[in-house]
């Protein structure tokens, strides 16, 4: 049973095309995250799913029903807003039960539902308060409670955590994930935080300029990005992009670049490079694939050692980021904190290209798909 189907949805404001033909389809119970920089159209798409904005073209189906022109209240969805949007004149209990009241649920059932939701979110002691008397985290919980009370077909979350401080955000992130595991209801969640996207999603739709750049599981997006934008957007610190020349070594294509020494890196899919022999391409390599020399990786097929000059070191506790410059591109390497280096030192690092990807310098598309 396909739960949410978005077919070629377009949204125009005058000459401006905000959504340029979005196609997404997810199953019941999936956690879909729409992620992208501000202005990419993710919130517009969310509002279109909710029915708060009319689409200019295309079709939206929920549970097999065409809801493209249905009013928000007939779509049986609940939404949690970034600003929480709690009704300021009502108590927490009234906020939670308002949706039920509008759907003419009898008072007794409403009270039962409020206490069920309050137990689930541990906000029982707040029920008589007004939103103004709550902290940010408590408001966030009440906003979720309001969405949960109606037991809708689908939840929409519009950047629900971005107004919380860092610690609370991580806590609530885990809580949302637990909640989803418990309820198993379909969730569409908008964020610009790629860590939230990675940790929560079953599937991620990376958006830019009103188009879906890639739709896939978090691991697919991380390991197998469709283009330079997706590769650069997901992951922190971001993937390194190093200009490299395609050369031939032992009869197969490889990538040559200049660190403190000249290195030739083997590439897992050499055939993808054969058309670009002699040209410069962008090598995409995650920071964790450039490490201090590790004995257990010595001699592996796609592992090469090379010297680099340390520009900056950034200790992060678990790892130390070593920043260097290769072919005029800044490169982050993730090393063991014990492998100490000072700025200006030349040290040996291990390049592992088993998960490397390459992009065209001009079109920014993947070359080895």
């Amino acid at each position: 049973m396909a739960n949410l189907v978005i077919e070629n949805v377009k949204k125009r404001y005058g000459q401006n095309e905000i959504l340029k033909g979005i196609n997404i389809s997810i199953e019941t119970g999936e956690f879909l995250i729409l992620v992208g920089p501000s202005g990419c159209g993710k919130s517009t798409l969310m509002n279109s799913i909710a029915g708060l904005e009319e689409v200019s073209d295309g079709r939206i189906m929920i549970d097999g029903q065409d809801v493209t022109f249905a009013s928000p209240k007939d779509r049986d969805i609940a939404m949690v807003f970034q600003s929480y949007a709690l009704y300021p004149n009502m108590t927490v209990a009234e906020n939670i039960s308002f949706g039920l009241e509008m759907r003419k649920v009898p008072k007794e059932e409403r009270e039962k539902e409020v206490s069920r939701v309050a137990d689930m979110l541990q906000i029982g002691h707040l029920l008589k308060r007004k939103p103004a008397q709550l902290s940010g985290g408590q408001r966030q919980r009440v906003a979720m409670g309001r969405a949960l009370a109606r037991r809708p077909k689908m939840y929409l979350f519009d950047e629900p955590l971005s107004n919380l401080d860092a610690k609370l955000r991580v806590e609530m992130r885990t809580e949302i994930k637990k909640l989803h595991q418990k309820l198993g209801t379909t969730i569409v969640y908008v964020t610009h935080d790629q860590i939230e996207a990675m940790t929560l999603a079953d599937r991620i739709a990376v958006m830019k300029d009103g188009e879906v750049q890639q739709l896939g599981t978090p691991q697919e997006i991380y390991d197998d990005p469709a283009n330079l934008f997706v590769a650069g957007f997901m992951g922190s610190p971001a993937m390194n992009f190093i200009p490299a020349q395609v050369v031939e070594q032992n009869g197969v294509c490889a990538l040559s670049l200049k660190t403190q020494s000249n290195v030739v890196l083997p590439f897992p899919k050499p055939d993808a490079l054969s058309g670009h022999l002699g040209q410069t391409v962008l090598l995409g390599l995650r920071p964790e694939m450039i490490t201090e020399p590790q004995p257990h990786k010595e001699g592996l097929e796609f592992v090469v050692k090379a010297d680099i000059e340390v520009e900056v070191t950034e200790p992060m506790g678990a790892d130390t980021m070593i920043v260097t410059r290769i072919e005029n591109a800044e490169v982050n390497c993730r090393s063991n904190p014990a492998y100490s280096a000072q700025p200006g030192d030349t040290i040996a690092m291990m390049f592992d290209t088993s998960k490397a990807v390459v992009f065209d310098c001009e079109t920014e598309e993947r070359l080895d798909k």
Partner: protein, 293 residues
């Protein structure tokens, strides 16, 4: 020994402070003086007014002038005081204030949260209404009232004040509702509430400050209006401002300044009272939304 510096109050500070209070008192007196003169004059008899100065105190408290102004003074043809016209004013003001406030609230709600094609133009056109001088519309409005069959009636005056007031009330409510997050309305729509339910259950309960501001503003405007009152009222529907004018201009023999003053104070009392009772909301409402909180 504590080494926290004590705040020094120098002689200069004290002198400046006294100067400040003297200035404030002087300003307050300048503003209050006309009212004091009115009050004093209304309590004197005609003889005292003629012989004494403006600020001299009455020899005895004499409320004769107040009684006459209320129920005996002549306003043009009749001599029933301003009481009947006082009532007329209320019959005009109460419905006009209520209707223009309700319409303004609905307009503001629509313009800020249910935008439609051309809603900005609609708002701009309404705003223009704030800048049209009263005199300009006298003739067309008289025509319109005649055409509607409500010329010289209380309903006609209510209609004029509502039409004129809606421009201002819409502006007030629209500006207030602009600061109400759009997500509140969206959330309510998803919860299944409709246009009027959202207005009644969510928007109106948070509108108290702006409702008070609007009511004070409209009450003062309509109660104090003279031009529409004199142009569009009939003989029995004149508001108190028109009656006051007639009272002052009608004299048999000597001019009774004490009665004039008493009548003027009576005519001004309702607006004074409204301001005293709701004034703190007025100041609060005008600055509402300036600071988030």
């Amino acid at each position: 020994m504590s080494n926290i510096a004590k705040r020094q109050t120098s002689t200069l500070d004290k002198v400046l402070r006294v100067a400040l209070y003297v200035t404030l008192l002087a300003m307050a007196f300048v503003y209050l003086a006309p009212f004091i003169v009115m009050l004093l004059t209304s309590l004197k008899d005609v003889e005292e007014i003629r012989t004494g100065t403006l600020l001299s105190l009455p020899a005895s408290l004499d409320f004769y002038a107040w009684g006459k102004a209320w129920s005996g003074a002549c306003t043009g043809g009749t001599c029933e005081g301003i009481a009947p016209y006082f009532l007329n004013s209320f019959q005009i003001v109460i419905p006009a204030v209520l209707i223009s406030t309700i319409v303004g609230a609905l307009n503001g709600y629509v313009i800020s949260h249910w935008k439609f094609r051309g809603s900005n133009f609609f708002f701009a056109a309404l705003l223009l209404g704030c800048f049209i001088p009263f005199q300009v519309i006298l003739l067309p409005m008289a025509k319109t009232l005649g055409w509607l069959g409500v010329a010289n009636t209380t309903s006609g005056l209510v209609f004029v004040h509502v039409v004129y007031g809606v421009a201002f009330t819409t502006l007030f409510f629209r500006n207030f509702y602009q600061a109400v997050p759009a997500e509140l309305v969206k959330a309510a729509r998803l919860d299944g509430a409709g246009f009027f339910t959202i207005f009644y259950r969510i928007i109106l309960p948070i509108s108290t400050p702006i409702i008070v501001v609007t009511i004070i503003w409209q009450f003062t405007q309509i109660w104090n209006d003279f031009l529409f009152g004199v142009a569009f009222s009939g003989f029995d529907t004149q508001p108190v401002t028109v009656a006051l004018n007639n009272l002052v201009n009608t004299s048999f023999g000597g001019k009774e300044y004490n009665v004039d003053m008493a009548a003027a104070i009576i005519a001004a009392l309702p607006t004074l009272l409204v301001y005293v009772l709701a004034g703190k909301y007025f100041v609060r409402g005008l600055t509402a939304g300036a600071v988030k909180g």
